[in-house]
Symmetry: C3
Subunit: 347 residues, 3 copies
């Protein structure tokens, strides 16, 4: 069998390491496409001159472009037969990534839990993206619900890992080079609000909306070399419970992050992902909105930047002035993403 059928739940072994295919050199071409697909306006990632004034060698990639490239490689080995992408935890961006660098990904199977009906199981992995020299640039945990090939197949060893509810800010402080924030030009950055201007509990409606087209999410998802057929095959999509193509969840994360510029323009770099959940699917033709809440702030021993712990919620076809979010045990029906993360902001 020359084609990859994808792994089924019983094919994973606890502790196993999987080297994923297709290393990827990221370029300014990828950066242009990322800008064109989401419209981010963070000055550090947009202007070499702005980045250099702060102390970067040049503009780094948007952290989520790095995330998607690292994530995309895991799909053929982890989620080709997945029924659902259940969550993220313990994500850390270790250093900026620059155009010209080559990224590859390795995943360790850190948990396995068969479902009670034995039809499926949850696979927990820690995926690590590295540069060509093997230095880690990003690591995160993800768990997915995967089909079993044979419901009767026995599972050698099961384990449910526990994750930190919040990534320790002290572990994230080294992700940026030392920055000369006196050169951080607030006019050019697009907002007068610095770290000290944000208060725990503050909620921000990001106001703008973005309607998604089939061509856009397909172009994005292929850019990341993410091969999950649910995103690309409308014919087989007709046979699914959704009856159509499903948009890659990471596309929603990037849309929400780009929309969040309007209110969080100076949260210019991601530091860590505490928790993330794709609450509901997004389809072409839907319009995405977002709002954020400041969950916490943290000093990191750095004089240049602080960390904001943010929760960004994305909705579909529902503006966010009323901050739609959790309702009882579930969510407001418009909610599609609930993401809890740390971001750097200049002091």
């Amino acid at each position: 069998m020359k084609t990859n059928p994808g792994r089924f739940f019983e094919d994973y072994r606890l502790g196993e390491t999987i080297r994923h295919a297709t290393p990827r050199t990221v370029t300014t071409g990828d950066v242009a496409l990322y800008t064109a697909l989401y419209g981010p306006r963070f000055a550090v990632q947009s202007s070499d001159a702005f980045a250099q004034a702060l102390g970067y060698p040049k503009s780094p990639l948007d952290d989520l472009l790095t995330f998607h490239v690292v994530f995309g490689k895991t799909v053929p080995d982890i989620s080709l037969n997945a029924l659902a992408n259940l969550g993220y935890a313990e994500g850390g961006f270790r250093r900026p990534v620059y155009p010209g660098e080559t990224l590859s990904t390795v995943s360790e199977v850190i948990g396995l839990k068969e479902s009670s009906n034995r039809q499926t199981g949850v696979v927990y992995v820690r995926s690590t993206g590295s540069d060509a020299e093997g230095e880690t640039v990003l690591s995160y945990c993800r768990w997915v619900l995967v089909r079993k090939r044979d419901p009767e197949a026995a599972i050698a060893e099961e384990h449910v890992p526990s994750f930190a509810k919040v990534v320790d800010p002290a572990d994230l402080a080294g992700a940026l080079p030392p920055l000369d924030v006196s050169a951080y030009d607030l006019d050019l950055a697009g907002s007068p609000h610095r770290f000290s201007d944000y208060a725990v509990g503050e909620k921000i409606d990001h106001v703008d909306g973005m309607t998604v087209e089939e061509a856009e999410h397909q172009i994005a998802t292929r850019l990341y070399q993410n091969t999950a057929k649910v995103h690309f095959d409308a014919l087989s999509g007709k046979e699914t419970r959704f009856g159509r193509r499903l948009i890659y969840g990471g596309h929603v994360i990037s849309l929400a992050r780009a929309l969040s510029f309007n209110g969080l323009a100076n949260a210019f770099a991601l530091a860590g992902i505490n928790a993330g959940r794709h609450v509901a699917p997004l389809f072409a033709g839907d319009t995405v909105y977002a709002w954020s809440e400041v969950l916490d702030t943290a000093e990191t021993g750095r004089g240049d930047v602080g960390l904001l712990r943010l929760r960004t919620v994305a909705t579909k076809n529902q503006p966010c002035a009323a901050h739609p979010g959790r309702e009882g045990d579930g969510y407001h029906p418009s909610v599609i993403l609930d993401l809890d993360y740390w971001a750097f902001m200049p002091k």
Copy 2:
């Protein structure tokens, strides 16, 4: 309030200078996207080898890519609450821009005129795009109709600027480096027609048509970091008088310019914009056609190139063999753009 609500008419002051956010390093990635979105075939912008033979260090950006990047930055401060983009004048491209350069934009408020109903007013700005060292690469005037927040608000000082009907060719001659036009290969350029082959009054139907998709104009407009919600939010678009998303007017300019290659292949660089008007809106699914008229020709004291003053008219869903344009006080119903500009052509 952390989000940008946009300025209303009474928020502007005559003579005020606005430094716009998000400087932008343009790259060969942007160039590839620009080519993919419009299909321009001008040899100077397409081939480093062709450009270098003439005396350029490498291929410059398409002048309209520069225009859109410079323009996009002004949107959050100038046209977020605009009802209409009324016109352009006194545009000048000061020098070629190359991949790797960083562009930013400053606007000066040069005119303010409240409408008689006091609900709106016209804001006139001169916007100047500069490189990282502050050297001007492009400047142009634009006026937009902007809502008032409060119809009763008083306007401190009003002024209606007057614009030159035509940019003086002598002011544009320095926009190109000295070129060795003996190296300008007409086969590779795609047309045997030089400067002297065009006569005032000549009309050219550019023949080809281009149908626009929602994904295409959204990808383009985000590439320029233009944030006007009318282009992106189909849900709120339903509540507008058009009932749908509106295509960025600059997208039409670029389509018309790319279509104009067929008949004006050697008009390889823009020099100035005399006047421009978006006569009617364009929507996804419409097909754009264009025709041009030679309004004037000018010598500039250069032996290598001359200037053609061109009027390019774009239509929707109407081929241009009959040159649809002004009719009585208005326009043929198919007309969407009427642009009057200077372009360089080899002698």
Copy 3:
């Protein structure tokens, strides 16, 4: 007449050479777009580090990106008035092409055959793509059915060329630099199957499907500066026998090649095109699938790589588990492409 009406059949002369317009510098921006449009995952073209370990200076372009750029230039001179693209033969990729190189194309008219009804004729050309120094990077033959302007026009000289059924592998062996295949990492490449693992007669269903959107094929076709109006003008498309825009045949070739990664991941470079036929048209909204058959294998005197002769068949709206292909004198109604080519694979 300043616009290009395209040539009609009686405008060609046997033996004539046509220098096509618009040389093109290919960049990493084009590479990013190519990845985003088709989703190829071949490691050599994706990772500079992977390519360099083998002995390449950096990642070469996907060979089909080179093909499309070389092909696109021929359209204004060869196929603007074409009714059908009939076939390809004797294609050879002469060396890898790298970002930063400038490509241009020359075609020689090698055959002319008027149709019996005198309304049309077949034009046969050999098109050669070269770098800025004039070194050939690709050549191939193509024949198209072209309208006559005047059915009564006489044809000076006719000739029907004969083509090799298969390109001699010995002529293709030099297309790659010597490679250190001990550095070819099968995990990173995405498949454990080397040259010796493929047997003549083996058939591989590539499983995955890709639905095509109007925006996608238009973006791709403009990227290649291919100007054939049938791909872009929906309004005039309504008057054609298809009633709509037609997708560029090369778009199908690239989709099929990208899909073929799943089963042929190590067939990392194209060497030659033996024969190709666009069996039926593709339209937006259709879903493309593909399968391949190993027609032959060839040693080339190189210790590092061998050549597989592959036939890849693409279908629309029909998965390929049953290998739909020729049926009687024709094809299964789902078939849109039948391509016979040589590809390199590490030993």
